[in-house]
């Protein structure tokens, strides 16, 4: 179980210190799928990076199975079983796909294992294992390799940051099946940051993040019902504005 207790995160910008996360309280239980959603810039990725140790809280605590890991480094957290698939994965000149998967699996990744991982994200191992993770990869290919690098690990908490971004429709279907399959075989906590309805429907709980706070934790069904009302409201207001411009 992972807990965030009154977590605040700040950052520096041109105007000075700004608040990124404001008093996040969150409990993520084992064997559950959580989908974190909300407006862009609301704080979802910041929560994920705080769990991974990339961002350090200015206040508050992070607990893993009851142990305080607030001061633990990224590497220590990774070794404790926390993983994070980046929204925008880096490219590596010289590191091949098979090298990355081996690092991810702690060098315990034989060829068959690597093939299975790539299959799970809709890639053919024959075409990819020997390729460098460089600029020859499209954004979608890069993203799928990033997801595979997390699937290679035995994790207590796995966080996927917008895994669907840049992925084509066919691969997206495969990705949905992979995440659905994880429910059966995965023993840890799965957190997916997403705006996709089909991913939202996989969740045990949907966490709505907005303006650096968790504004709601609910079921997918309730959340999607609420979203329909909000969308209708937005559409109405948009029409009114358009109408005003047209009448002017």
């Amino acid at each position: 179980m992972l807990e965030l207790i009154d977590v605040h995160v700040t950052a520096e910008d041109a105007t000075g210190t700004v608040s990124v996360l404001q008093g996040i309280n969150l409990t993520l239980e084992d064997n559950k799928i959580y989908v974190m959603t909300g407006p862009n810039g609301g704080g979802k990725t910041s929560i994920a990076k705080t769990i991974m140790g990339i961002y350090r809280p200015s206040r508050g605590r992070v607990l893993l199975d009851g142990a305080d890991i607030t001061e633990k480094s990224i590497t220590e957290r990774a070794r404790l079983g926390i993983g994070y698939a980046f929204q925008q994965p880096p490219r590596f000149k010289g590191i091949k796909v098979k090298d990355l998967l081996k690092i991810a699996a702690g060098n315990n990744a034989d060829n068959r294992f690597q093939c299975d991982l790539l299959y799970d994200v809709g890639l053919c191992a024959q075409d990819y294992l020997e390729r460098e993770i460089n600029s020859s990869f499209s954004g979608g290919e890069l993203k799928r390799i990033e997801i595979a690098s997390l699937l290679a690990r035995k994790l207590k908490v796995a966080i996927f940051d917008e895994p669907e971004a840049g992925i084509d429709l066919w691969s997206f279907q495969k990705l949905i099946e992979t995440f659905a399959g994880l429910r059966e075989k995965y023993q840890g906590t799965l957190v997916i940051i997403s705006h996709q309805e089909r991913i939202l429907r996989l969740a045990d709980q949907v966490i709505l993040v907005n303006d650096g706070r968790i504004s709601e934790t609910t079921t997918p069904e309730k959340f999607l019902a609420e979203i329909e009302i909000i969308t209708a409201d937005c559409r109405c207001r948009t029409d009114c504005i358009k109408g005003e411009v047209a009448n002017a």
């Binding site: 590497t75 990774a78 880096p90 000149k93 010289g94 590191i95 690092i103 690098s149």
Partner: protein
């Protein structure tokens, strides 16, 4: 004849763990100490200056010749080697120089290699440089490589400086005739106060000739690197230089591109980049459980592989 240090140097520069298959010539401290010719590859000492002539018979396929040089003392060695790669042949040439300098005198090897890759021949040339030794004497390697690739020929070069070389000036000149092809892979690592300069000049003089040069380097500590890569297109040809350097600590790296076209159908590209290891790369590998140092090593190892 070969002691433990010699064997270690040979393994480092030529991947030799025993007497190699095929033709070979091992030069130690300025003298040829072991040599073998084969039916298709003849090695003959020069009579007018130090060095050897390596003659590969036309049509020779899938054979190799090893010509490593080792220095285990502070001395200066100058050698001239000439390679005649016969028409239609396909061979591997493994050169390389390893220096073990235990004393205070300078140990220096200047090697001038001249290649004639005849019509339709294919040559892969692997040259590794390596230095070691606790002495204060400098370890210096200055290879000069001149290659003429005739019509339809292919020259593939792997030029690698592993570690421990205090100063190097690599000067490579290649001339490509019609339909010939050049592939160069350069890897260079410097650290401490080491200095490295690499000049590669490629002249594409024949129609449909092509050249691809990929140079990657890592400069650590207070080391300095200078790259001057030139492509000159005199015909309908294609050329591409990609020069990437990772800079660390207080190192200095200069990359000076020069592409010159003397023909309207010459298509030449030069890409150069110098930068430190991207923090996103380090973060990614750390999220997979590597320490920052391990992540850095993995990135550098991959980059120079």
């Amino acid at each position: 004849m070969l002691n433990t240090t010699d064997k270690k140097l040979l393994a480092a520069v030529a991947d030799l763990h025993s007497i190699p298959q095929g033709a070979f010539n091992i030069r130690k401290n300025g003298e040829g100490i072991m040599r073998r010719s084969t039916a298709n590859i003849e090695i003959v000492p020069k009579t007018d200056k130090p060095g050897i002539n390596i003659i590969v018979k036309p049509g020779t396929k899938n054979e190799s010749v090893h010509i490593p040089v080792i220095l285990s003392a502070g001395l200066q060695d100058l050698v001239y080697n000439t390679f005649e790669i016969g028409a239609g042949s396909d061979v591997l040439v493994v050169a390389g120089c390893g220096i073990h300098n235990p004393g205070g005198d300078e140990a220096r090897h200047d090697g001038v290699h001249e290649f004639f890759v005849r019509k339709g021949a294919k040559m892969k040339y692997v040259e590794k440089h390596y230095g070691e030794g606790r002495g204060s004497g400098k370890r210096i390697l200055n290879p000069k490589t001149i290659i003429e690739v005739e019509e339809g020929g292919v020259a593939e070069l792997e030029m690698i400086q592993l570690q421990g070389v205090d100063r190097t000036k690599r000067d490579t000149e290649i001339r490509l005739q019609a339909n010939s092809r050049l592939i160069v892979t350069e890897r260079l690592l410097t650290s401490h106060n080491q200095e490295a300069e690499s000049i590669i000049t490629v002249e594409l003089v024949g129609d449909d000739s092509s050249a691809q040069i990929v140079s990657r380097s890592v400069a650590k500590d207070n080391s300095r690197q200078l790259f001057h890569l030139n492509l000159r297109g005199y015909a309908r040809c294609r050329g591409h230089i990609q020069c990437d350097s990772i800079i660390m600590h207080n190192a200095k790296v200069s990359s000076i591109p020069e592409i010159s076209a003397y023909h309207t159908d010459a298509a030449l590209i030069h890409e150069a980049a110098i930068g430190k290891i991207a923090s996103e790369q380090l973060l990614k590998l750390m999220t997979l459980g590597l320490s920052e140092k391990e992540a850095e090593e993995a990135i550098l190892e991959g980059f120079l592989k």
